[in-house]
Every structure is written in structure tokens, then in C-alpha cells.
């Protein structure tokens, strides 16, 4: 029993930790200009590779910019981009998925064929291609990552809606005369939103790595915008003399992604839509050629 208690304790600790990390990130992203002691783009060559000290808690980078300020503003860029991406994906995915699932018929199959097309591409490759055509910059990165990810969500939402639509209590509501719209709002949306919250939280880490990965390849945000992937790429050439410069942004990404993963797990445990999930997964697995859900589940 003590083992179980310890485990529960540990688990609760991890969840608390993840909430704390996400909170800190959100705060630093929102209030980066207030929290940071320096302008993240201010170049002071005399401070090149300055040691950590009172003025610069984490030291300075190759152009004498304050690393901590850049990290804070980097959180703003990364999280901001991911938040926008998640918003776009959820909106688009929800609109398409719910419409398809609820309307059925020709509309459903048309929308799903469109999703199929997007699911056909390997996501990162398609994002790269879009950047290649559209050019770099944060807006294009958001566009590329959103467009490559929304179709998964549309599919999942559609299967959820389909599964729920034929559930007894929903059918009962319909039979007892509740309107289509009200049924949707009352009986279908809440569980779908719960499920979406979990999926989105679990996927944020993934999207973040896409954004940073693109930036790392030089296909992401434009300088001097501070971004963690860019900071890693910038620090690469100083790894022999100043390995800490590559550690900070790397750790930042790592911890953020981990926190979101933990949070997603915890959210799943808390909302426990296990039965729902299974119906949806079974449904989806039969339909999609490439079952993204099993992957989602594994996260």
C-alpha cells in the first residue's frame, strides 16, 4: 500500500510540477517585456559571452544579448505560435469534423476526402514544402503547421460526434423531441470539448517541436525574433567554448514539451473519457487508413 501511496504522491507531484511549469511559461510569455531585464534584441558587443552575474543571470550570447531575456521572449514566440496554431487547428478541425459527423451524407464524405488529402502527406515534409514556397516568417510557419495538422483533428472530432450521435442518451434526447441544435449543444459538444482539450494538450508539445524544428533548419521565424529553435541553431557554432548556450533553449523546449505531455496525461486521467475514447478509436481505426489515434493514445 505504501508503494501505491508513494506512486500516487509522485504522480500528484508530477502533475503539480507540470501545472507549475505551464503556469510559469504562460506568465513569462504574457509578461515577457516586464519580466526580462533587457531588450532581447539589444546588441552590446562588449558583453559578448558575458559570464552569468547579477546583471545577466544566465549570461550573454554571441552578440552580447541577455540570454534570460531571450529565453523569456522565446517563450512568447514559441508558445504564442503554438497557441495560435492550436486555435486554428481546433477551430478548423472542429468546424469540419462536427459538420461532417453531424450532417453526414454527401457533405460528410466530401469533407472527409479533403481531410484524406491532407493526411496523405508526411506532416513535416509538407510543412517544409509550404515554407519553401511561402517563404520564412512566423506567419508562414503558423500557416504551414496548422494546415498540416488540422485534418487529424477533423477526423477525430467526426468520429467522436458519430459515436456520440448514436449513444442511447443522445438518441433518447432526440426521440423525446429535443431539436438537432440543442442536442448538439447539450449532449455532444461537452464530451467532445473534453476530449479535444486532452488531445490538444498532448499535441502541443508535438507542434512546438515542429515550429522549433523548422526554425532550427532556418525555415522558421526570421531574425532577430528570439525563438528557442533559432537560439539552438545560433549556439551551434559556439558549442565548444560555450556549451551552456545550447543547453538553455534545449532544456526550455524539453521541459515545456514534457510539462504539456504530463498535463495532458493528467487531464486524461481526470476527465477519464476512456469509454468514449475507445468507441471513437474503434470507429476511427476502421475508417482511417493511417490510424493517427493509436499514436495519439500512446502520447
Amino acid at each position: 500500500m505504501t508503494v501505491n501511496g508513494l506512486k500516487r504522491h509522485l504522480r500528484r507531484g508530477l502533475v503539480a510540477f507540470s501545472i507549475l511549469v505551464v503556469f510559469i511559461l504562460a506568465v513569462s510569455a504574457l509578461f515577457a517585456p516586464l519580466l526580462s531585464t533587457h531588450d532581447p534584441t539589444e546588441v552590446t558587443l562588449a558583453n559578448k559571452f558575458a559570464e552569468p552575474g547579477l546583471d545577466h543571470p544566465l549570461g550573454c550570447d554571441h552578440l552580447g544579448r541577455d540570454v534570460l531575456s531571450r529565453l523569456l521572449h522565446g517563450a512568447r514566440t514559441s508558445l504564442g505560435a503554438v497557441a495560435v496554431i492550436a486555435g486554428v487547428i481546433l477551430l478548423l478541425g472542429f468546424a469540419v469534423g462536427a459538420t461532417a459527423g453531424y450532417a453526414g451524407g454527401v457533405l460528410d464524405s466530401t469533407l472527409m476526402r479533403i481531410c484524406d488529402v491532407f493526411l496523405t502527406f508526411p506532416t513535416f515534409i509538407l510543412a517544409m514544402f509550404m515554407i519553401g514556397v511561402l517563404g520564412t516568417g512566423i506567419v508562414n510557419v503558423i500557416l504551414a503547421v496548422s494546415l498540416t495538422h488540422w485534418a487529424w483533428y477533423a477526423r477525430i472530432i467526426r468520429s467522436l460526434v458519430l459515436a456520440l450521435k448514436n449513444r442511447e442518451h443522445v438518441l433518447a434526447a432526440r426521440v423525446s423531441g429535443t431539436g438537432r441544435f440543442m442536442t448538439m449543444v447539450r449532449h455532444i459538444l461537452p464530451p467532445v470539448f473534453a476530449q479535444l482539450a486532452i488531445l490538444a494538450t498532448l499535441d502541443i508539445g508535438h507542434m512546438m517541436m515542429h515550429v522549433s524544428g523548422l526554425s532550427f533548419l532556418g525555415l522558421g521565424v526570421r531574425p532577430p525574433t528570439p525563438e528557442w529553435g533559432v537560439m539552438i541553431a545560433d549556439a551551434r557554432q559556439y558549442v565548444w567554448t560555450h556549451p551552456e548556450l545550447i543547453m538553455y533553449p534545449g532544456l526550455a523546449i524539453f521541459v515545456t514539451v514534457m510539462a504539456f505531455n504530463l498535463l495532458g496525461d493528467a487531464l486524461r486521467d481526470a476527465l477519464d473519457p476512456h469509454a468514449l475514447e475507445h468507441t471513437a478509436t474503434d470507429h476511427a481505426r476502421r475508417e482511417t487508413a493511417s490510424s493517427s489515434e493509436s499514436l495519439q493514445e500512446a502520447y
Binding site: 552578440l63 520564412t136 532556418g218 526570421r222 531574425p223 567554448t241
Partner: protein, 543 residues
């Protein structure tokens, strides 16, 4: 059990496939004694002497040779041509070719080979129209004359339209006037479409090209001059300068040699400094080879104003830039061409670092810094300009970020536009920039070819100068200087042109580019070439 067997079967199958492809795909470059390993960011390319990208100039220079060779002191020396004479009017040149030279396939080098090659170049003159030499020769042909004539087996005469003075410098260029073995010409003689094999008279010949991995050069044992010390030279493909440094650290390559700077160069300058401090390595920095500079657009707000341009030039602390970004590897540049270049030692007064003076200049011009604002304003317009650079060139990026910082201090807002090279060059062409990076071409192009290009609308320099009231005058002088035979007149014309450009503050020269070199103590004989485009591998010896 059926299922398990199937899964196992799948694994075994996949494993075999991988092993098989591994076994097939593993090719190895030569190793060990007599092999020098160098690296470059791409394969050396098809090495057609009469074509440009994707062939790499350093490799073209290893395989093909010019009639005359550019020297470090700015003069040209006899090479495949033993001697030459120019006519009084400066329009006819007669070259006496070196005898006993053969191409690496055994074909003799003679007047016929020279004519064949020059004719092939002239056939595709459109692709070489940036080069005045080709235009001059082509103009003669177009007028019904003969530009290249064989006087005897070893004597060739070139006829120009005008008395174009830099002809010898341009004959020394790495491309396109170098010589392919007549045996390697395509059947229709048009090298513009491709060649049979890269065979030249140079000290090296290509023996193997493995795309994306490496190229192998072998000593040309038929070479007429000083033969290379090493039997083989392997050029590995390492596109990334960090990977190159790691490769050097782990002994994968023997030599780092070429332009400095993370991005376009061989290794980052910080990495170079690390090797300098290490003590176990031999490092070297060449003399200045070209100028790293930015052009200011005189045809666009707000840099169309002389005061703004002067203020920008005064705002930049080049010393700090050179100390911290170029780490002293490249020296501070105050004029667009180094004084050591021909006709360029003019004693022009540099724009000193003087932020206060810059601010005064702007104040006088009516650019006021409103209280509480970071940027100057006049008539409700913000003092802002676009600073354009190649986004994935780390060195340009760093410099751009530094410049942004300096300009901010005098209240000038610089918007950084780091883009793909495509968009970048597009901006150079159409003048959609406030400030833009642009290096001079270095010897042997500077100053004449570079100045010549200032008259071409698709060059950043033309676009940048377009707003100058005396632009037409400058172009006329450039046209004149290239064909004048009078040394004194030429000197005066250059002084005029360069002084005007300097005083009008069109260029923000940063540093004089150098080549760098790093190798272990087991390598000796490595030295710098006369231009930034060639690497003399011949004297290098590995113990």
C-alpha cells in the same frame, strides 16, 4: 503462432534489406599516405570550364589554367602564354603559347585548342555578358571580323573592339576563359550544353565524383609546372560549418581553408579563434582579398538624403564590430576598395565612429527625437529603413543584428529582413532595400569589373547609386576609364569615381575579407592564393 511467425518474418526481411543496401551503398574514398582531405560545402560540380554554377571555382582553378595568371601584387604573370604583345592602339594582343604543355589526357595544348575554347565561349556570349572581354571579342565577330586567329601552332591573336585595358586581368579569371582538352569537347563543339569529361592542363585531374559525399582529385603526372606533392586530394562534402569543425576535430579532414565566417565561409570565426588559441594547430590569415560592405539606397526614403547616409556611416562602431564579430581576422575597412588595390590608394578620410556627430547631423536635417520615443521623426514620418540580408548566413545575420543595435542608438529604426537568397538577390536587382549586403568581388575583378557592373541595372550598386544627382556622370566616367590607354587619365578617373562614391556615403564598408587556414602540424607548405577564389594545393605536403 502464424501471426508471430509473420511478424518475425517481416523483421528478418527488413533487416536483410537494410544490410543489403548498406553493403551496396558503401563507397570509400582513398585513404592513408599521400591523401589530403579537404572539405567543401557542395560537390565540385561538372567542372565545365565555360560554365558557372554549380561548378565550384576553386576546383575549376585546379583543373584548368589561364593564359596569364594573376599575382598577389596585382600584376599578371605569364602562364600558358609565355609572352604577349599588345598593339599600340590597345586592340590587338598576340600571345606566344608555352610549348610542351599537354592536357591530362595527353592531347597537346596549342593554338588550335585555344581557338576552339575561345570560340566555344563566344558561341554562348549571352551567358558571359557581364564580362567585358567577351563583349569586346564578340563585337568584333558580330562586325564580321575574326576575334581569335591562329598565327602559327603556338601563337594566337585576340582582336578587341575597343582598347579595353583590363583584358589581361580578365584572361586570368577562373571562368570562362580557360581551356578544355579538345578531345573532351562535345561532338557539336558547343560546351554550353555540356562536356564529355573535365580534362584540363592543370596540376590536378578528377578521378571520382560521388554526389553528396566526396570528390577525388589525382595528381596530373603530365603537368608542365610544379607537380603537387600529394598523390590524391579528397574533397568531402560538408555543407555546414559546424559539421566541418567537428570533422576537423575528429580528424575526418586535414585542412580548413577558405573564406571565414559561419554560413558562407568554411568555419565560424569564433571556431577559428578557438583553433588559434589551442596552440596545437597551425592557423593563418591571408592578406585582404575583397571588401565586405553594405550599399545604401540613394533612391529610396530615407537614405536618399545625404545627411541620413552620413549619419548611418558615423553611427557604426566598426572597431567593436571587427573586434567582436570578425575577431580581428578581418581588418576594419573604411573605403570600398582596399588601398592596396590598383588605383585605389587615394587617402580618403574615413567616416569615424561618432554617434554624437551622427545625431547632430540628423538634428540639423530636421529629424527630431520626440521625448519618450526611440525613433526620430520628421513631418510625422518615422526614420526607418529596411536592412536586408541572407537569412541563413549566420555571419550576415549577426552583423545585421549588430547594425540594428547601433542605428537604434541614433534613433534610426532598422527593420531586419532576413530572407532566402532568392528574395535577397531580387531586392538587389530591383532596389527594394534600404541597406543591403554586397561584397566586392576581390582580385582580380576589383576595381575595374566591379565598377563596370555599377552601370548594369540588375546590380545592387546601380540601384543604390540611382538616386545620386551625378549618377550619369559616374557611369560615363566608368565607361571612359575602362578603355583609356593613358595611365594618368585612368588614375584620375578612378580617383574621381571612388571619391564621389565615398563622399556621397553610398557604401558602408565593414571589413576587408580574408581567407583563413587551419591545419595540424603534420601539414606543411599550405599558403594563400592571390585571389579568394583559388586554393594552391600543389605545395601542400602531409607528413
Amino acid at each position: 503462432m502464424k501471426c508471430i511467425r509473420l511478424v518475425l518474418f517481416g523483421f528478418v526481411l527488413a533487416f536483410c534489406t537494410v544490410l543489403l543496401s548498406l553493403a551496396n551503398a558503401t563507397a570509400e574514398p582513398p585513404k592513408g599516405e599521400g591523401v589530403l582531405v579537404y572539405s567543401w560545402s557542395s560537390n565540385v560540380g561538372p567542372l565545365n570550364p565555360h560554365r558557372y554554377s554549380p561548378s565550384q571555382m576553386f576546383a575549376q582553378a585546379m583543373v584548368y589554367e589561364p593564359l596569364v595568371r594573376y599575382q598577389a601584387d596585382g600584376t599578371v604573370a605569364p602562364w600558358l602564354a609565355e609572352s604577349w604583345t599588345a598593339s599600340i592602339n590597345g586592340r590587338e594582343y598576340v600571345f606566344r603559347l608555352r610549348q610542351g604543355v599537354t592536357f591530362s589526357d595527353g592531347t597537346p595544348f596549342n593554338a588550335r585548342a585555344v581557338k576552339l575554347n575561345l570560340d566555344a565561349v563566344l558561341k554562348n556570349h549571352e551567358s558571359h555578358d557581364w564580362l567585358e572581354l567577351v563583349n569586346q571579342l564578340h563585337a568584333v565577330e558580330a562586325a564580321g571580323g575574326q576575334a581569335v586567329s591562329i598565327l602559327d601552332d603556338y601563337t594566337v591573336k585576340l582582336t578587341l573592339k575597343d582598347s579595353y585595358y583590363p583584358i589581361l586581368q580578365e584572361l586570368a579569371l577562373i571562368r570562362p576563359v580557360r581551356f578544355l582538352s579538345p578531345a573532351a569537347f562535345p561532338d557539336d563543339g558547343d560546351t554550353g550544353k555540356g562536356i564529355k569529361a573535365p580534362i584540363g592542363t592543370g596540376p590536378w585531374q578528377v578521378t571520382e565524383m560521388v554526389k553528396g559525399e566526396y570528390d577525388v582529385f589525382e595528381r596530373n603526372d603530365r603537368y608542365w609546372g610544379q607537380k603537387p606533392n600529394m598523390r590524391h586530394l579528397v574533397v568531402k562534402v560538408i555543407p555546414d560549418s559546424n559539421a566541418r569543425a567537428v570533422a576537423f576535430d575528429t580528424g575526418e579532414i586535414d585542412l580548413i581553408y577558405g573564406a571565414g565566417g559561419h554560413g558562407a565561409g568554411q568555419i565560424g570565426l569564433d571556431t577559428f579563434e578557438r583553433y588559434q588559441k589551442m596552440g596545437e594547430m597551425i592557423t593563418g590569415v591571408s592578406q585582404p582579398l575583397a571588401t565586405r560592405t553594405l550599399a545604401l539606397n540613394t533612391n529610396r526614403f530615407p537614405t536618399n538624403e545625404l545627411a541620413v547616409r552620413q549619419a548611418v556611416l558615423h553611427a557604426v562602431d566598426k572597431k567593436a564590430l571587427v573586434d567582436h564579430i570578425f575577431l580581428g581576422v578581418e581588418k576594419q575597412a573604411d573605403t570600398i576598395f582596399a588601398p592596396s588595390m590598383p588605383y585605389c590608394d587615394l587617402g580618403l578620410a574615413p567616416f569615424r565612429y561618432d554617434p554624437a556627430g551622427a545625431a547632430t547631423l540628423l538634428d540639423k536635417a530636421g529629424w527630431i527625437l520626440p521625448a519618450g520615443s526611440a525613433w526620430r521623426v520628421r513631418d510625422g514620418k518615422e526614420l526607418a529603413l529596411d536592412l536586408c540580408f541572407v537569412g541563413n548566413d549566420a555571419l550576415q545575420k549577426s552583423v545585421a543584428e549588430v547594425l540594428q543595435g547601433y542605428l537604434k542608438k541614433i534613433g534610426v529604426k532598422a527593420n531586419l529582413l532576413g530572407e532566402e537568397s532568392d528574395s535577397f538577390y531580387n531586392r538587389q536587382k530591383n532596389g527594394e532595400f534600404g541597406m543591403i549586403f554586397g561584397d566586392t568581388w576581390g582580385a582580380p575583378y576589383d576595381p575595374h569589373s566591379f565598377c563596370s557592373a555599377m552601370r548594369v541595372p540588375s546590380h545592387a550598386d546601380y540601384q543604390a547609386q540611382l538616386g545620386l544627382p551625378m549618377k550619369a556622370d559616374i557611369d560615363a566616367r566608368i565607361g571612359e576609364v575602362l578603355v583609356t590607354l593613358n595611365e594618368e587619365a585612368r588614375r584620375n578617373l578612378y580617383a574621381d569615381i571612388l571619391t564621389t562614391l565615398h563622399e556621397q556615403a553610398v557604401y558602408l564598408p565593414l571589413s576587408y575579407m580574408t581567407s583563413i587556414m587551419v591545419h595540424g602540424k603534420n601539414i606543411e607548405g599550405a599558403a594563400f592564393g592571390a585571389t579568394k577564389y583559388e586554393i594552391p594545393f600543389e605545395p601542400v605536403r602531409k607528413k
